[in-house]
Symmetry: none
Subunit: 213 residues, 2 copies
């Protein structure tokens, strides 16, 4: 029985070649490949064969490794997560462990180290690399601090229009609402995102992944 592995990395070349490498190891089977967290969410949807292990990159567009790990921990707690990044900054590492990863590997390690880590995490649930030391279970809980605001469906809809070239008048037309109502959404979103301008709203919406480029 092969160990089922999932990969998330925005660099397709790395993703595909790493996938190939894992397949050649005989003990592993790559069951899902994704370019970022959003992509992963789509691809896991309705999948009955979930991976045992996920290799997750930290820096990715749209939905990064930290968000992805947090999402996986919440929705698929059986999947053990190994962070795989060239980002060796403490903040990133700590955030990943807080989000729920079991190990943190740097991309400059030798493939044999990755293989060892995969086996260890699969068997014991954790792996301490030379560079990054972890106390299993030390970090945990402590949900997100600056959690994204909760938006009503219409606010989300409105937000998508805001992040485009439409004027509020045009948005009102599109949404079949009066200009005043739309202005109300604007004000409430300014409040929720803590911004003072449409540009600021757009940027925050992008940062908080309510919309994408």
């Amino acid at each position: 029985m092969k160990i089922k592995v999932g990969l998330v990395d925005d660099h397709q070349l790395f993703l595909k070649s790493l996938s190939l490498m894992l397949e050649t190891l005989q003990n592993f089977e790559v069951v899902v490949e994704a370019l970022n967290g959003q992509d992963l969410q789509r691809k896991l949807e309705g999948k009955n064969e979930l991976p045992d292990l996920m290799l997750v990159d930290v820096n990715m567009p749209l939905m990064d490794g930290i968000e992805t790990t947090a999402w996986l921990t919440e929705h698929h707690p059986s999947i053990k997560i190994i962070a795989l990044s060239m980002n060796d900054k403490d903040t990133a590492i700590i955030k990943m462990f807080k989000a729920g990863c079991c190990a943190y590997l740097l991309k400059d390690v030798h493939p044999s180290v990755l293989e060892k880590a995969l086996h260890e995490v699969y068997k014991k649930g954790y792996y301490n690399s030379d560079a990054i030391q972890l106390n299993p279970g030390h970090f945990l809980k402590n949900p997100n601090k600056d959690s994204p605001p909760t938006l009503t469906p219409k606010e989300q809809h409105f937000l998508k229009y805001v992040c485009s070239e439409l004027t509020y008048k045009q948005i009102a037309g599109e949404m079949q609402l009066s200009e005043r109502t739309v202005d109300g959404y604007r004000e409430s979103l300014f409040q929720k995102f803590g911004v003072q301008s449409r540009v600021g709203l757009c940027l925050e919406a992008l940062r908080k992944e309510f919309v994408s480029l």
Copy 2:
């Protein structure tokens, strides 16, 4: 007769798995792998079988891709060099081309693109990726609508401010220019980016990576 390829990348995991991928392509044969420029120099020494193509990462410790490319161009001019990086900043790209590379690929391309680029560079000596345009010998200013426009330093500076919560009046203050002047930049950037609002300008600047979130 297989095409002989050399690889230089400090991320061992990427290096090894990419090497494996190239080997599986049948048309290619990896004859040298190195972790940085110095490593490459050592490994090429006294080698009678030189690679036809070199895939060189840009950001590496000890001796980076730019130095490596310059060294290769000088000492092994027969080797055609393809830059392979996640660094999409203009300065890095231009430096690599000046150092003598034939093509510049981002690591997030699909493997098929890499394969195509390898064949093209081997046959024709150059490859124009969608993102990075090159004319053998010198850059071409292509009229491609999707290609990033050329910005003056002040326009770039102005653009960074636009992608923030500052008003044009405040930007004028920051840049020590009159409001009318920055309005001129605004207009010229609207023209260059093909947009008609500040929000559109921000989004295009993000898409074309003149600024980041």
